[in-house]
Amino acid sequence: METAIMVVVVMTVIGLVFGLILAFADKKFSIEVNPLIHIVDDILPKGQCGSCGYAGCLAYAEAVVLNPEVAPNLCIPGKKPVADLVAELTGKSAPEIEPRIAQVRCKNTITHAIKKYNYAGVEDCIAASLIQGGPKGCEYGCVGFGTCVHSCPFGAMVMGEDHLPLVDEKKCTGCGKCATVCPKAIIHMTPIGTPVAVLCNSRDKGVVARKLCSVDCLGCGLCSKSCLFDAITIENNLAVVDPKICMEKCAKPTCLEKCPTGAIYDLRTV
């Protein structure tokens, strides 16, 4: 019995002593933090994607609260609701954010692709593309090891059965992390609602590109000639669609039927 009492007494005394030390340290070494920073931080989506240009969500919260010049709409994954809340909390006005989504511009599947060599190394796109530009014949296309998929902070990407990454439109926040890790830069951030897109990244001349892939853009220019609004330009043997002109002016795309390889896709039906 006596031992039990001793234990209780000793533990209580130790607890009291340490409690006092902690209480003292809390007063003595406390750091003044603007409580708003943590409130803003809690609102942010916590993907730590860095698309705002800061090292993480907390860093952005700190900047947006303390620096009057930092805009409240830099968090792209948060979109309009977060921007509005942040603007309200910090007393700034939030300009419109254009919602955007990741678009994988390659349709050269592993089964169709002409292979340059059998790759047996590290399963990572960047590592594979260091070896003669990757195992696929087309040096501009998707390498297919899913570095983008692993990098997505929101779990919005999966690797398709044909070894091309698929973007979940509901989950994709448009942060652009995947676009920065892709060694071939085939992922583009495009505005949501773009009607058509050229899903190819090949800058090879038509003759070369044709041999390497069956669904590539040859850079023939038929689409750009057929476009009534000059929304398509050919740069380095690749057709590039200006989504703004497309969205604003075009109701019935004429480019789709003209493409000889079917490299232009109608995104409204997909």
Partner: protein, 442 residues
């Protein structure tokens, strides 16, 4: 005392294919594809255009800056294209394509006879630089850069790298047996350029005949032949210097920091040609070998000849090769096809047969430590590969000496889990370089 280094591995040397075969001269290529990037440093700038007639030995690509090198026409004929062509290392690269006229005519005034002993060191260096000579062991670092002693450094020793520790390769071995006088002259010129009084030749002891040959050839000169135990990577610069002279290069340092310059056998032979006869680097000796080659040979071949022509000269393939490798099997690069040109750094063309290559699926690291025992640099390859896998490139650089790794491949050879450690290391290095570039840009 056995002169060697810590770590290393003992791969099967497989030199029997070609060690006894004299160097043969390969026929002229019909079309020579001569890339502008055949060396470490800036790519050369092509100074000929489509349609130009060129002679053998004519400069077709000029060095772009100090760390760069001239490129010469290896055959006479007409330039049929200047543009992007296949390259054994970069995949694609700007190249000058020459269609042979079959005459193989020298540029006017070549070859000449020159008494090098009358020339000053600076003049010799200029000749070496103009002749486009680069390290022929495979690294292709421009020789004139290596031979220029920096102001705050003092060099007192030349080391001739004749270890040829890569399995299969026998080109240097055959050159030592057949072309002793060229090597002797080349070494003496290289010594004069550097202003050194002493040279050590490191040869692995699986080449007894070459050791004897070199000892007699260099009799009476301040040159010692050092027999080294056969162990990979005996021919790596840092290991070789440590083995022959006992000097240890500090981390991140160069041989010049300990007063040494290392030259390869092929390089000194090229120096001899350039200085005594005015012949620029337009050909090299290379080994075509491997289980899939019908008649493996050591061949003297013009730069720009395709791998295919070189292999055809060796009677083609016996069986379908498992892998085609440029260079040696330990550090060489696997090639996706054989329609690529032979460049200055091609020390071997290997067609590895099934069963010769140890291929298989990579597994997880079991931390057995064999790679740590094998690493000649005393690094921890297992950690380097794991950090790279996890994306911790900065830790690999700062805490695990990433940039001390010479990518010799001893760890991969020793690894029972078949981990692609060297590729992880290369990947980490590339990521670090990219991060540095980003930082510099702001």
């Amino acid at each position: 005392m056995i002169k060697s280094f810590r770590g290393g591995v003992h791969p099967k040397d497989s030199k029997f294919y070609t060690a006894g075969k004299p160097i043969e001269t390969a026929p002229l290529p019909e079309v020579a594809v001569i890339p502008m990037r055949q060396h470490i440093g800036a790519a050369s700038i092509p100074i000929v255009k489509k349609g130009d007639l060129v002679k053998k030995g004519q400069v077709i690509g000029e060095a772009d800056g100090f760390v760069s090198s001239n490129v010469h026409a290896s055959i006479s004929g007409q330039v049929i294209d200047v543009g992007s062509h296949p390259h054994p290392i970069f995949g694609k690269c700007e190249a000058v394509v020459i269609s042979s006229d079959g005459k193989d005519e020298w540029l006017e005034g070549l070859p000449l006879t020159r008494n090098w002993e009358e020339l000053e060191a600076a003049q010799l260096l200029k000749i070496i630089s103009d002749a486009g000579i680069v390290g022929m062991g495979g690294a292709t670092f421009p020789t004139h850069v290596k031979s220029t002693v920096q102001k705050d450094k003092h060099v007192d020793l030349l080391v001739l790298n004749a270890a040829e520790c890569e399995p299969y390769l026998t080109a240097d071995h055959r050159m030592m047996l057949e072309e002793g006088p060229r090597i002797v002259a080349g070494v003496r010129i290289a010594m004069k350029v550097l202003g050194v009084e002493k040279c050590l030749i490191g040869i692995e002891d699986n080449k007894k005949d070459a050791i004897e040959e070199m000892t007699t050839a260099f009799a009476g000169l301040p040159v010692d032949v050092v027999a080294l135990p056969t162990k990979y990577p005996q021919g790596a610069e840092k290991m070789l210097i440590n083995a022959v002279s006992g000097r240890i290069i500090p981390s991140g340092g160069l041989p010049m920091d300990v007063g040494v310059v290392v030259q390869n056998v092929g390089t000194v032979a090229a120096i001899c040609d350039a200085v005594t006869r005015g012949i620029p680097l337009i050909q090299r000796v290379t080994t075509v070998s491997g289980g899939s080659i019908k008649a493996p040979k050591n061949i003297r071949v013009r730069i720009g000849t395709s791998f295919r022509e070189a292999i055809d000269f060796c009677d083609g393939f016996l069986t379908r090769p498992e892998k085609i490798i440029m260079g040696g099997p330990m550090m060489g690069m696997a090639e996706p096809n054989i329609d690529i040109p032979i460049i200055k750094g091609v020390s071997g063309i290997l067609a590895i047969a099934k069963g010769e290559a140890n291929t298989g699926k990579e597994a997880s690291c079991i931390r057995c430590g064999r790679c740590v025992n094998a690493c000649p640099m005393g690094l921890n390859p297992s950690m380097l590969s794991i950090l790279s896998e996890r994306g911790l490139y900065e830790e690999a650089r700062e805490d695990y000496g990433l940039f001390d790794c010479a990518e010799c491949g001893s760890c991969v050879f020793a690894c029972p889990a078949k981990r692609n450690i060297v590729q992880y290391v290369k990947f980490s290095k590339a990521q670090n370089a990219a991060a540095k570039l980003k930082e510099n840009r702001g």
